[in-house]
Symmetry: D2
Subunit: 318 residues, 4 copies
């Protein structure tokens, strides 16, 4: 069954919020997301009333999330599978910015300043999206190289279920429930597995990026709106951390701080996965992963950093 | 001019050791390296007398290095360029191992134990190299998947000049001088740039890997012997950290601990490079790098970790 | 003017919540706090209705906070001073526990497991408080040393204003606004300075500890209820991070991850303080602080870690 | 038996160097140390010929070490005990400095720059020592507070045995063998325990500090020369990390990077110590240590950082 859902309100938290829709395992959702700043396909910003949390903050919180979607029969200990069937960008522009108090080159404290010197100048970049040719370009005002044309690679920056350890109040935070992983592998054709901690799973998502480099260095990608088609289903088995599967790779996303901790989580989970599902001995898995594994730093800017361990599917049994 | 050099002794330090050979800028060296354990193309281990440092240690130190090569005219503040013209594997085997007290899943203290539980079992893996078909395979004794066939990608694991801050006594350590970066990008067809700190530069190298995953998770790659052909030259300009250039990318390797520090070093240096050489404004460079940059974790096991920032050459001026 | 306030509801967030009381600068508050688990002076737990946030979480959130107290005239950019005139423990017991998924010996990911082995056994410890003799004791069930008698040192574990970067939804988190710093220096006779970010400052506090070691290693101190008397005032100057002053020391509390970042924040702020207020040259301040400074690790268990830089008052001008 | 030894050469490495003296367990050594820069009690610097390592470095390596002392009967797996009977400062001056590329406020890469801005100005401070009154003073050239008078607390900055994992070539590095821990607790009246890894233990020491703040923030303490009297003995049991015992505390020094790792090592070892020697149950030990433990950051500047876990002796069985 296909559900079309037009959001009229958005959440900024991962948690047990009232469901927007109840669906059955195997159902498909077609819906839309606004960008990280709350701008929709016409460039209009959602109103404060549409934001379902932090109504009294003085600033506009980031990453409004569409949902939650309650999947019938999903129980704590299950795994929610999210097949990403389609991500269609719904406007011809995206924005990005360098931020004075954000990004992977600042210190890591709340507020993320540069501890010893002048802040990075805040500067907004408007990117034009050529959806026909799958490219984007912008003007670099201070540079001789004015208009780089870069490839589009749309993906869902923030997607997660209600977390095990209670509500996570900032949609900026990734964790064992998914969340703001900012991982480009969460794109059309991939399937994401998330550990269910609340009845109904309560999936939310948003923050589509039209393109992004590894680590999201300056803290902001090409932020834009999208229409998204997902097929949700359940596996009656338990996983610990988000998994992503595409044609070529199986992947685990670990999110924590410091960065090395996220690296360890992802790789320990990958060894477990190879051992429990694919017939590898634990220590053989470590050896083979050490020789053929690839590793992505997804983000170094969020309250937790995300590192992805990748293992080629060609070494899995058929 | 082409120099053929057959090493009779090996160093385990980066530093101002007596040169094995004096060459001129533009000259080519053809020489050989033994593997990380000191085994040559016939599988014979070098003798203790051939090791030029730590003669009184009870164990065999890792990563014997061929050289040093003294480049005439190289002065502190210059940049040494190393064109990697050829890496030929010289035997049909490589070895690897899981190590009880090593690798990216252990704690990070000296000795690298698992702090709370039983150590990872030490286990050696013999890999057969099919140099015709450019593949390797091994037996995974505990697994149902017995014999994975993986692609070869030979590269130089350890390569560096005499360092700025004095001798680095363990060839296992990477730093601003290069060293044991364990970065697969240092392969045939790439050119490595290193900052010269001592008269003559004093290049040493060894520790060729036939293949390796990102991060070198278990701490050991496919260790083997090789014949290597390098062309050395000088640029009369100063760089701060190793740079690697190949057909598609310009890259900077930062080495430090914790892991996030290596990430920052590599990206700060890349922003500087784009600014000083390629006409980008500093903050435009940060924005574009954030959207098109790629990032590699080269190693998480050495005394310093290595992270590589990558920028596509197609966005550079011709 | 002295205000007596008996709380009927508690918050679990630092943020712009509706004030419990409006007071004037120079006024004194006498009020009570429940313990980290929500237990009051009679050992009764507060009801779910009394908790003002996260009503739909399945677990009892930690660290209920008394307040907020709105200080008239407090504007963003001001400094709130909190003179801690009295902390009276209001029951003869405290509890603590070792927690399976918490504390400074676990990995640092959300949920804080031990990554490679069996979790720390969860175990509760009941501590008896001898308020006459200022000591506490408990039974150590597995040990030959059964009943250690330890000194009491009551302090406020969680105390903060509404934060600069929006609401912080977990009262477990410390930051530039104060919060759950778990710093034993916030005790009777000390004065705490906090940076005001919202009109009225909106001070909340709770989570009194009867005693605690450095770092709060297992994640839980001697948790108990208290009556607290505070005098609040304003300084029309801006500070960046919490400061604590007592008879012997001036102190700065930095909170972040990784631990080294908290250390740097605290010490950079201390150098600034010595420079701007006490006539020290910046680099002289660095030198003197390096020789006479003391440093405390307050906590290694919260979402941010807290490190305190201390400078002896005897080296300040009179 | 008492041995008086006047050093004529100094080492800059921890490792299996030729012994300066063979002694028996229970013997006493009276000898002298030069300061971190190699200056003796008359202010004369040792000659390059007296330095037993790195003869070809262009700079003067830090922390020349007196010794090694070979203790008869010391075997790998034993514990060397070092009773610090006396530390007498042998000249009326000490020096310190702020260093451009060193210290706890710089980035953590080799060379330790400030990544984003101008370096800390290098500046030398001459401290006068009043050994009668046990104080020191210096001139702070840029400050209104000109001449702080601070207390002396002499201790041995660098002291270690030959390490388990081979030679450590920089006397600046602390580890499981002791080394440059820069821990003020290694002072007169304390006993240091070190794990023996080589026959004879091969103790070296030097780098006495007349005073130092926690963490050695700027990277340099009050560096001076000393006469030292030590009593060495053996325990036929194995320890993993350095332990220090004084009248009030038992202490463990963990050295690693990142800082949190050093914290964990020290505390895990302390829990083990309380369990194996003092009759505590493992988890009871964790609970009690969490409530009464104290923790010191000894250094944040060396290639490994050192954190010390402290447990009060009054809770140990008599």
């Amino acid at each position: 069954m296909i559900h079309r859902y037009q959001p009229t309100k958005y959440y900024h938290t991962y948690g047990p919020n009232p469901p927007a829709l109840h669906i059955k395992p195997g159902d498909i959702i077609i819906t839309s997301t606004v960008d990280a700043g709350g701008y929709d396909h016409e460039g209009n910003q959602i109103t404060p009333e549409m934001r379902q949390s932090n109504p009294d903050t003085v600033y506009s919180p980031s990453n409004p999330l569409t949902g939650p979607f309650h999947v019938e029969g999903a129980e704590p200990g299950d795994t929610l599978t999210v097949e990403i069937q389609r991500i269609t960008l719904t406007r011809p522009t995206a924005w990005s910015r360098n931020a004075s108090n954000f990004g992977g080159l600042t210190e890591e404290a709340p507020g993320r300043r540069l501890l010893y010197n002048d802040p990075i100048p805040s500067q907004r970049y408007e990117w034009s999206l050529d959806r026909e040719n799958n490219t984007a370009t912008t003007t670099l005002p201070g540079s001789k190289q004015k208009n780089p044309v870069i490839p589009l690679h749309p993906f869902i920056g923030s997607i997660g279920v209600a977390p095990r350890y209670g509500r996570v109040e900032m949609s900026l935070t990734p964790g064992e429930y998914g969340g703001n992983m900012d991982f480009p592998g969460v794109s059309e054709g991939s399937t994401l597995h998330l550990p269910v901690s609340w009845r109904g799973a309560l999936l939310v998502f948003g923050d589509v990026h039209a393109a992004q480099g590894d680590g999201e260095l300056c803290g902001v990608a090409l932020e834009t709106s999208a229409e998204i088609q997902l097929k949700l289903d359940l596996i009656k088995e338990q996983i610990e951390w988000p998994r992503v599967i595409n044609d070529d790779w199986i992947m685990v996303a670990g999110s924590s701080r410091p960065l090395m901790e996220a690296y360890k989580i992802a790789h320990v989970e990958m060894v477990k996965w190879l051992t429990t599902e694919y017939g590898y001995d634990k220590w053989d898995a470590l050896q083979l992963l050490s020789q053929v594994g690839r590793c992505k730093i997804a983000n170094t800017v969020d309250p937790n950093y995300t590192v992805v361990a990748k293992f080629p599917r060609k070494y899995l049994p058929q």
